[in-house]
Amino acid sequence: MSSHSDHLDPLGPDAYGRLVVLAGLTDIRSDTLGLMLRVHSIDHIWRCLRSGRSLAFARKSGAVLALPAARAAQWGAEVRASDPAAAARVHQRSGVHVLAIGQPGYPPSLDLLDDAPGVLFVQGDPSLLGAPTAGQRRPGNRRAAIVGTRRATSYGRQIARMLGRSLAENGVSVVSGLASGIDGAAHAGVLGDSSPHDARPVAVVGSGFDQIYPSVNRGLWADVRRDGALVSEWPLGARPIAWHFPARNRLIVGLSEAVVVVESAATGGSMITVRGAVGRGIPVLCVPGSVTSPASVGPHQILREGGALCRNADDVLTAMGLRDDTAVPRSSSDHRRVPSADGAVVLSGLGWDVLPVERLLARFPGTSPGTLLLVLHELEFDRWVARGADGWFQLAAGQGR
């Protein structure tokens, strides 16, 4: 953290504190602040609001907007009551970088958005948000998003974890929202025990950095801060309010070169992200699931409408132009030890869905539980099977590491 702290405020101490105050004004939308900052200096906005004056600013379409007088008065009062120096101290102590639109360090891919956030708060390494650099061997700042429902199935979580890990292995930063379910699983894959050391996760969250939500992901939250970058539009202390989450989805799209939907209902946050990606012309990849699973309705619908198929990380890398489509598929990369004769028999009786031991035993009448469990243990050791919350299931190549 200390290595970055020198660069926390390339803007100068005044601007740093004022931006923190502005981003935290009551009900301010970060894209509104973005529009203001595109045409006015921080200093100007600050002085106008201080004196309770309104400001005019323009959309990209050319429409000129003015801040309503009542709003200007309210924010003016808040600005006058604020202590930018104190706010700056608090944020600097927590190692929060403040990136303002139009200033050096602001992610160029976000700058292209019509509704770009005026201010971006980053904990960790802000250089991870920079422009992608070419180079097939060692790509830099290549980012792909993995999104999906919070109500994920164990299959969905498995796949998200596998994709997260494989993408990290290939030097791609995984962008996600750190929600429970798919989001968390993807980053858990990136940061797992056996993860590559150069995994650089990027997480866009919907609250201030001191308001960890959901709290189950506290550990991941800290790991992302340490190894990658935590990004928020909100200053410290901002609560995780419901409308923050759909809003941050546009940043997930804005920061990514491809979006992978692992599982989603037909409506929901992930579908908002997908619509955003389609609108910006970013490739959307979908992981298919069981046709009976309500969690896979969303991806199936997008596939039907022309989304790309995602079976593994190679599909994502291809969509990002990091893999040659015509190259031999890497699915032959199944390095697992060939199962024993007994193992093969047990595998044949074990589906891709979870099977409790009781049911498994019923499939092999006459086999003692000890014998069957020993075979399962060997298969588990070689990563052919895994034990979930209520039973055993088969793993695909590359899964469950």
């Binding site: 009781e358 035993l361 019923a362 000890g370 979930g388 209520d390 039973g391």
Partner: protein, 515 residues
């Protein structure tokens, strides 16, 4: 004149001997009771006076002082009434003391002289000195279970007076129940299919391990739990007496005829998940009564819907699970109630109960789970941690398939309990009631791993799939599994038993975080 009679009072589940000293002297007529008597005990004055007058005897118009010794022991309840009344009659020279030599008196008096029964007769009789104990006739069967005492059941004070005057002889002592009988429990043969869950039940019965079952509603968790108690061996006489003493103290002696013998069935208690802390662990402000945990002593405590119990109640289980006693601390006293029970818990896999990893076929009418991640999380947090860690056998109970439901019956309770008894006998030869009670040092001595099993355990330890503590727990359960098939005290634990024990540790697990 002074008369001294013996009686007893209760504290928790223990009886304490009390000497009732009655002094009658000339002076202003009055009647006082001293010696740390509680309210019910002090009210004895009015009951005793009315009972004596109703029995047709004169009330001595003198100065009567009753001392309950030892003076520092708190006396609770009304069980001293009879001793006080007889003491007054002897001290006022209405009756001769000779008739009551070597006797103790226990019982509450009604205003008409009736001798009524009190809770805790077993402990009271046990604590009372002397060979003969006079008790209420209604409680004679309960009191007669105490060894080395002759119990004389009386109906009213007049009867005692007549005996002392020689108009009537003592009733014949109540017969001490001989032999034991077991309350019939449902048969394991009713459980169709589910060989693994049945085996888990057999293992828990044989080793005295705690059991957690997870499964959807209707999978048969309660059915198994109710049958588990039938697999346990009968209580031996001292154990049966311990159980009886607790039941008696709780006022729950069911009055089953002693002709059948002593009740040697292991208790089965299934408190509802709304149960309060006090009803479970015992206590209360005045009379400290044992709770459900103690009533399950030497038997099974079945907690259905474990996750629905309040967190405080679940926490209160930890200490009894560790020590086998419940300590209830109140301002007046700290009591230890015995609570060496086997915990059998059941839970749904999620709050709605229908979560399953199995992919359901289209048209399958089984309800789908609709629980949100945060609901699941809350449930897991409630169950996780120290309590779960003390449960060695965890199993997923799945609904039997149609073929199993229509198939043949499984093994009967009689057949399985024979194996359980044999396994318990092995534990007995090692010097313990069951494997669950074996300390770690003994466990390592009696349950070495065979070389191939050792290798598997080592790989699991290095991969972090097993912790050191987990290994000991696996060893313990594996010992029991092997005891069910082998009759050797200290043969090396084979790979078969180890693998089953490992699976039983991973069942009903909530480790898959919501991530």
């Amino acid at each position: 004149m002074i008369a001294t009679l013996s009686s007893a009072t209760m504290l928790g589940v223990d009886g304490h001997r009390v000497s009732v000293e009655v002094h009658v002297s000339n002076g202003l007529p009055m009647f006082t009771i001293v010696g740390l008597a509680d309210l019910a005990c002090r009210e004895a004055r009015d009951r005793v006076r009315a009972a004596i007058v109703s029995s047709g005897l004169p009330w001595p118009l003198k100065r009567i002082t009753v001392n309950l010794a030892p003076a520092d022991l708190r006396k609770l309840g009304s069980g001293l009434d009879l001793a006080i009344a007889v003491g007054v009659l002897v001290a006022s020279d209405t009756l001769s003391a000779d008739a009551f030599d070597g006797m103790s008196f226990i019982g509450e008096l009604g205003l008409d002289g009736t001798v009524r029964t009190v809770p805790g007769l077993v402990a009271l009789v046990d604590a009372a000195p002397g060979r003969y104990v006079v008790v209420p006739a209604a409680g004679a069967a309960e009191a007669a279970c105490v060894p080395d005492r002759s119990v004389l059941g009386v109906h009213n004070l007049r009867q005692v007076v007549d005996i002392a005057l020689g108009n009537q002889s003592w009733p014949t002592p109540s017969v001490r129940p001989s032999g034991g009988y077991r309350v019939p429990s449902p048969d394991l043969a009713d459980v169709r299919g589910q060989p693994f869950a049945r085996h888990a039940a057999e293992i828990t019965a044989a080793g005295g391990h705690h059991l957690l079952m997870s499964g959807s509603p209707g999978a048969g968790k309660t059915m198994l739990a109710k049958r588990l108690v039938g697999l346990l061996p009968s209580l031996d006489p001292p154990e049966a007496l311990e159980v009886l003493r607790i039941r008696s103290a709780a006022g729950r002696f069911d009055g089953v005829s002693n002709e059948l013998g002593l009740d040697v069935s292991p208790p089965f208690r299934a408190p509802h998940h709304g149960a309060s802390m006090v009803s479970l662990i015992g206590g209360g402000t005045l009379a400290m009564r044992p709770g459900e945990l103690s009533l399950a002593h030497r038997g099974v405590l079945f907690l259905d819907e474990l996750s629905e119990f309040s967190p405080g109640v679940l926490d209160s289980l930890r200490q009894p699970l560790e020590e086998g006693v419940v300590r209830v601390a109140r301002a007046r006293a700290t009591l230890a109630f015995p609570a060496q029970f086997q915990l059998v818990a059941a839970t749904n896999p999620c709050p709605c109960g229908w979560r399953t990893g199995e992919v359901l076929a289209i048209g399958d009418a089984t309800p789908r789970c609709g629980c949100s991640p945060s609901q699941l999380d809350r449930m897991r947090r409630r169950l996780s941690g120290p309590l779960l860690d003390r449960i060695d056998v965890r199993v997923d109970v799945v609904r039997p398939s149609v073929t199993e439901l229509l198939g043949e019956q499984g093994e009967s309770t009689a057949a399985v309990s024979r194996r359980v008894a044999a396994a318990r006998a092995l534990a007995g030869e090692r010097g313990f009631r069951c494997n669950a009670e074996m300390p770690l040092s003994a466990l390592r001595r009696w349950a070495p791993f065979a070389p191939d099993a050792q290798r598997i355990i080592e790989t699991m330890l290095t991969r972090g799939a097993l912790t050191a503590r987990g290994m000991d727990r696996v060893r313990r359960v594996a010992r029991t599994i092997q005891d069910l098939t082998s009759a050797v005290l200290d043969d090396a634990i084979g790979i078969d038993a180890v693998m089953q024990a490992v699976e039983l540790r991973r069942g009903a697990s909530y480790q898959e975080a919501a991530s």
